[in-house]
Amino acid sequence: MSAQATKNCITLKGSAQIIVEYLKYGIHSILFQRGIYPAENFDSTQQYGLTILMSKDPKIETFLKNVLSQTEEWLSKNMINKISMVITNAHSKEVLECWDFKMQAEMGDNQSADPTQRTSSKEVLRIQNEIRDVMRQISATVSYLPLLDCICTFDVMIHTLENTELPAKWDETGAIVIQNAQAVQLRSFSTGLHKVETVVNYKMST
């Protein structure tokens, strides 16, 4: 590869990496901010110029690692419409909250018809700043989202294209419905190849 080409361009794979990284920090941050797991089980790390609290529960870590590595593979083939992080009551299985990360493929710079050939010259720093703004909004949602006053668990659902093959250890599920829901859209960011919108759907208390 020539020096020019390596200088500053994001491929579809790189874009998928950036998004998966955002999902990782975003999901961990939601787990902490919404108080789903005990605060003692979180460690702080620095990312995007923010302090983000990451769960150190090995089960959560491996779950997210498995899910996100598969997500990255699908994302780099543009096979994902939406990723939903669903928070449910662990006892009644009622869905209380759903964080949607909507993916939109973008054309990039060269407008190539073949997605694997597309590149984006958007600066990584700029993308990270956009992500930081979304992360800040996520931590600020605490002020209006209802209290999750029960033992909760979470799951990640991936909305893929029709022709996606089901990998081992994966299942197909139905869509989830939140009763009496309210949706708030947070900011979006874009890598040039993917645009990611973050929306939180929550159950309004009576």
């Binding site: 959560i60 779950f63 598969q70 662990a90 002020s143 668990t153 294209l161 299942d171 939140i178 309004m204």
Partner: protein, 528 residues
């Protein structure tokens, strides 16, 4: 602001139900405030127009069916001055599918009669759901289901991983519960001294703007309290009790911050247009206007002839009030509104807090005027906007900062090495912090649930007393020049005076006698 007025006028004109135009009367605002509870209602021109257009609706419940169309419009046209859109959330209804929902509702009312018996269907298919709706409550629920019809999920699979994440341990309780649950005021630990827990005096402060990002009160060295109420600025002489109106801003504008010079009667007012005005309060005369900001000035701090201003545009500007070219430098360390600004007690550092959850510490410039353009420390540990800042009078390198609702922590920093000394969860939004000069204590002002002032022992951070009385969050505090009294301004439109740091009469006597003895001995020495 003129374009906003236009938008609000336009909206008022569109209302057909004969509501009162212009800003809502005070009783209505109060009613709304009590309905909203702890929701942060800002009373800018903008939100006034919002309020009036919805005042017909009995309570601000967000039933999608009732106010849907007006609100979607609103969220599209809401202009924000904060760079990059700001952090305040107005639910974006773009995520809900109103066209489809509206269609389904209309269709429902049309062929309701022949579908009446079709009640049994409660599956996910949304059309049959809506058609089955019988009475209002149920119908509303169904509506909300319809409105979240995912438009993009037609065709496609939803996959999930088989090994699920674990549920939280059974003993776990959500730590956020403290934010939501109202408890009776906590019995305070008996301290070493008597602290009166009721306010000494209550002043009425009608139209005090309930905005977390503004600093609307200050107490001068000459014992005068300046306070901004609505578009006016008033001076209250704490010694005589005289009240004087200093100025009134034109329709739509207001003071965003007030700050007295260290000595004398010069008051700096940062206004909503982004200018900093200097007033000589002994003559009730405006001395000069210093512009430079593109958005409202929400925080001010004096350092002798220098006044630093923090604005909604994210910048901090140092103004030299003596010279014609007043602008010394502009600091771009925040990406959002700067709502806290304090010079250290030795005037070597400037601390700033912003809506971007950052606390920046700026060191004095090598020239001795203003600060270096790069922040010395950037503390990003707070999880919410930082407005409360205070420097320790007896340890000049110690800074205390308090975060908003999502954070609720009071953190102490050593600015010499940039380390976090201590962090205490106050269990409520921290709106203001002050260190006492007589005692090694500090006082913090809080919001929901108890709206109290809390006195803490420093550095142990043992709670000494809770001063309750405010019925809405306490936005601002200032200390009297003798350091014995604290005045607090609450969103309940009252100012309350607390005699919480009165010097201990025994200690005062003792120190007086020590002083007289010291004088004697010096006198004797000189004879010898």
């Amino acid at each position: 602001m003129s374009q906003f007025n236009f938008v609000s006028d336009l909206q008022n004109a569109l209302i057909m139900d004969g509501e009162t135009r212009g800003p809502a009367p005070r009783w209505k605002k109060k009613l709304e405030a009590s309905l909203n509870g702890s929701v942060n209602t800002t009373r800018s021109v903008l939100s006034v127009s919002y309020n009036t257009s919805f005042s017909g609706v009995q309570a601000p419940t967000k039933t999608p069916g009732k106010s849907s169309e007006g609100k979607t419009k609103k969220s599209n046209t809401t202009p924000t001055k904060t760079p990059g859109g700001g952090d305040r959330f107005i639910p974006n209804r773009a995520a809900t599918n109103f066209e489809l929902a509206h269609f389904l509702v209309n269709k429902d009312s049309g062929d309701k009669s022949d579908e009446e018996n079709d009640k049994a269907t409660t599956s996910n298919s949304n059309e049959s759901n809506v058609q089955a709706s019988a009475h209002k409550g149920e119908r509303q629920k169904l509506l909300s289901e319809v409105t979240q019809v995912p438009g993009d999920s037609n065709g496609g699979r939803i996959l999930c991983y088989q090994n699920k994440a674990p549920a939280a341990p059974e003993s776990h309780t959500n730590p956020l519960k403290v934010v939501y649950s109202i408890k009776t005021p906590i019995s305070t630990k008996s301290g070493s001294r008597y602290i009166p827990t009721t306010s000494e005096r209550i002043l009425d402060a009608p139209d005090f703007i309930n905005d977390y990002y503004l600093n609307l009160m200050d107490w001068s060295g000459d014992n005068i309290v300046a306070v901004a109420l609505g578009s006016c600025v008033y001076l209250w002489n704490a010694a005589s009790g005289n009240i004087e109106q200093l100025t009134e801003f034109e329709e739509g504008d207001y003071a965003g911050s007030l700050s007295w010079i260290q000595e004398g009667q010069i008051l700096a007012i940062g206004n909503s247009t982004g200018a900093v005005e200097l007033w000589d309060c002994s003559k009730v005369k405006r001395l000069r206007v210093m512009d430079g900001h593109s958005a409202r000035v929400g925080s001010l701090a004096w350092n002798s002839f220098l006044v630093s201003s923090g604005s909604r545009d994210g910048t901090i500007i140092h103004h030299d009030v003596r010279s014609r070219e007043h602008k010394i430098s502009s600091l771009a360390g925040h990406t959002q509104e700067v709502c806290g600004l304090k010079w250290s007690t030795d005037f070597k550092y400037l601390a700033s807090g912003g809506n971007d959850n950052l606390v920046n510490v700026w060191s004095l410039a090598s020239s001795g005027v203003g600060t270096a353009s790069e922040a010395l420390h950037k503390f990003n540990e707070h999880q919410a906007a930082v407005r409360a800042l205070a420097w320790c009078p007896w340890q000049p390198s110690t800074l205390a900062s308090g975060g908003g609702t999502a954070d609720r922590c009071i953190k102490f920093w050593n600015v010499n090495n940039g380390s976090l000394i201590k962090s205490v969860d106050s269990k409520s939004q921290v709106c203001s912090l002050l260190f006492s000069r007589h005692y090694k204590e500090l006082i913090s002002a809080h919001g929901f649930a108890n709206n109290q002032l809390t006195i803490w022992k420093y550095p142990t951070m043992v709670k000494q007393a809770d001063l309750t009385g405010h019925t809405s969050r306490v936005l601002q505090m200032a200390m009297s020049p003798d350091g014995s009294t604290v005045i607090s301004a609450g969103a309940d439109e009252t100012l309350r005076l607390w005699n919480c740091f009165a010097p201990d009469p025994l200690a005062a006597k003792k120190s007086a006698s020590v002083n007289s003895k010291a004088k004697q001995s010096v006198f004797r020495q000189s004879i010898r």
